[in-house]
């Protein structure tokens, strides 16, 4: 069974149709790269998955559970959205770290807040909080940031900030980790260190959706590639099929223009 099943998603902003009939599925442990020019709807699609936008049509299901169905108001209750969001992790283009917290606090904050809802929290508070703290430290170590745990975001480089943001998203163990152009706000020097981290996550079979402009990276890391243009999926398949041997004229144009730049 697929981890994620997206069916016929459609989204309008006013009169503008941003997404049209988007359907795809994602298998456990796979990495999906979404490519396409700016304004093609890639970011909006990710935002729909994270419930930051609400699709006008279509449905999405994780591990067989329908999380959202535009036709079924019962799936849209505000109170449940918060829990449903936790199936997805989100790494934003411009990091959005919390400036008043250290790197480690950024990673552990949400976990500490969620822990308060646990039935055994009162009884086991100390142990639970220590566990969260240790997990946070381990994640920062995995990101190569052990020595930066006590630093505030403004004391970190862009690449380091983005790696903290990745650790923060991983801390809640989402089923699917989403990246929204994770390196677009970074200069080329810092891009590499972030891509390296994402690559290692792919090697550990983390289920991921990566919106990216890094074609070479998408080709190497992704198991599946979707090319979007004008709010529709023009082509999807393996990196070999979509990036190396595209069938559609529009995909070819995009890739040619891309390699020229």
């Amino acid at each position: 069974m697929s981890v994620l099943e997206v069916r016929h998603i459609e989204k309008h902003f006013g009169a503008t149709r941003v997404l049209e009939d988007i359907s795809f599925s994602l298998e456990e442990g796979q990495a999906l790269a979404i490519i396409g020019s700016s304004g093609s709807g890639k970011t909006t699609l990710l935002r729909c998955l994270n419930f930051l936008e609400r699709p006008d049509r279509g449905s999405l299901a994780v591990r067989g559970e329908t999380l959202f169905d535009a036709a079924d108001p019962a799936t849209q209750r505000e109170a449940e959205v918060r829990r449903k969001r936790l199936h997805f992790g989100m790494v934003f283009q411009s990091f959005h770290l919390f400036p008043q917290y250290t790197a480690l606090e950024n990673v552990t904050l949400a976990g500490r807040l969620l822990a308060k809802e646990r039935a055994d929290y009162k009884r086991d508070q100390k142990r639970i909080l220590r566990q969260i703290e240790e997990q946070g430290k381990a994640l920062l170590e995995q990101m190569g940031l052990s020595d930066r745990a006590g630093h505030y975001p403004h004391q970190l480089s862009g690449g380091q900030q983005q790696r903290v943001a990745i650790a923060r998203a991983l801390a809640l163990s989402p089923d699917i980790l989403c990246f929204d152009e994770p390196t677009s706000a970074l200069d080329p020097e810092l891009t590499g260190e972030v891509l390296k981290v994402i690559r290692s996550l792919a090697e550990q079979n983390t289920t991921m959706i990566i919106v990216t402009h890094e074609m070479a990276f998408a080709r190497d890391v992704a198991d599946q590639v979707i090319f979007m243009d004008g709010g529709v999926i023009v082509e999807q398949g393996t990196p070999e099929q979509v990036i190396v041997h595209p069938q559609q004229e529009r995909t070819r144009q995009f890739l040619t223009r891309f390699s020229q730049n």
Partner: protein, 212 residues
């Protein structure tokens, strides 16, 4: 003589400081509530709140003090409020409106991404407000708030219009005796209070300097 004047002025200073502190105690939280109203997604509420803020900020505080003190009696035949209460009520309403605009500016200056980052991490609205937004708002509003606090200390002098005996009233009472220096002396008290406030705000600003 100096002792007599000092004691008299200190008596006025107590009234001044009472008004200052009580205004803050009520107006700071009320201003936050008003700012939520002025940012409400419910248009009629937003419109109402914005109109009230416009009226309060658009008319003199002096006029508001007079209206609140004399208005209920002259319009509805109600008994007069105690003078200090009427003065306090006008200050609270007036300052809450100013504070609400400062809060609104501070809240809206927090990037949208901060809310979204909290949302995708499964935080509730109130967790996002208290754990993420609030401190960032506080950091942003410290400089404009320090202006308002200092202005408030000086504005308290207006309540003499309904015979609340604050410090300048006390200083002025010596003019009958041919003395002008007690008036100048009142300035020393204002400078001292505002000096302390300036230091305090400087300290808070420094405390919040650890993040950007």
């Amino acid at each position: 003589m100096l002792t007599t004047v000092t004691l008299t002025l200190l008596e006025g200073l107590v009234t001044t400081l009472e008004l200052f502190v009580l205004t803050l105690v009520f107006a700071l939280p009320l201003g936050l509530i008003i700012s939520f109203g002025s940012m409400s997604r419910f248009a009629p509420l937003r419109g109402f709140v914005k109109t009230v803020v416009w009226i309060i900020r658009g008319t003199p505080l002096m006029l508001q003090i007079l209206v609140i003190f004399y208005g209920p009696g002259l319009l509805f035949g109600l008994p007069l409020l105690p003078r200090f209460t009427a003065a306090l009520a006008s200050f609270v309403i007036n300052y809450a409106c100013y504070f609400s605009e400062i809060y609104r500016g501070g809240i809206q200056a927090v990037p949208r991404g901060q809310y979204e980052a909290g949302q995708v991490l499964g935080m509730t609205r109130s967790q996002i407000f208290f754990k993420i937004t609030l401190l960032q708002v506080v950091k942003r509003i410290v400089p404009p708030m320090s202006n308002e606090f200092i202005t408030l200390v000086k504005d308290t002098a207006l309540v003499r219009i309904i015979s609340v005996y604050e410090i300048i009233w006390m200083g002025e009472s010596f003019i009958k005796k041919g003395m002008i220096w007690p008036l100048f002396y009142t300035a020393v008290f204002y400078l001292a209070v505002n000096g302390i406030l300036t230091l305090l705000f400087g300290w808070v600003e420094k405390k919040l300097d650890y993040f950007k």
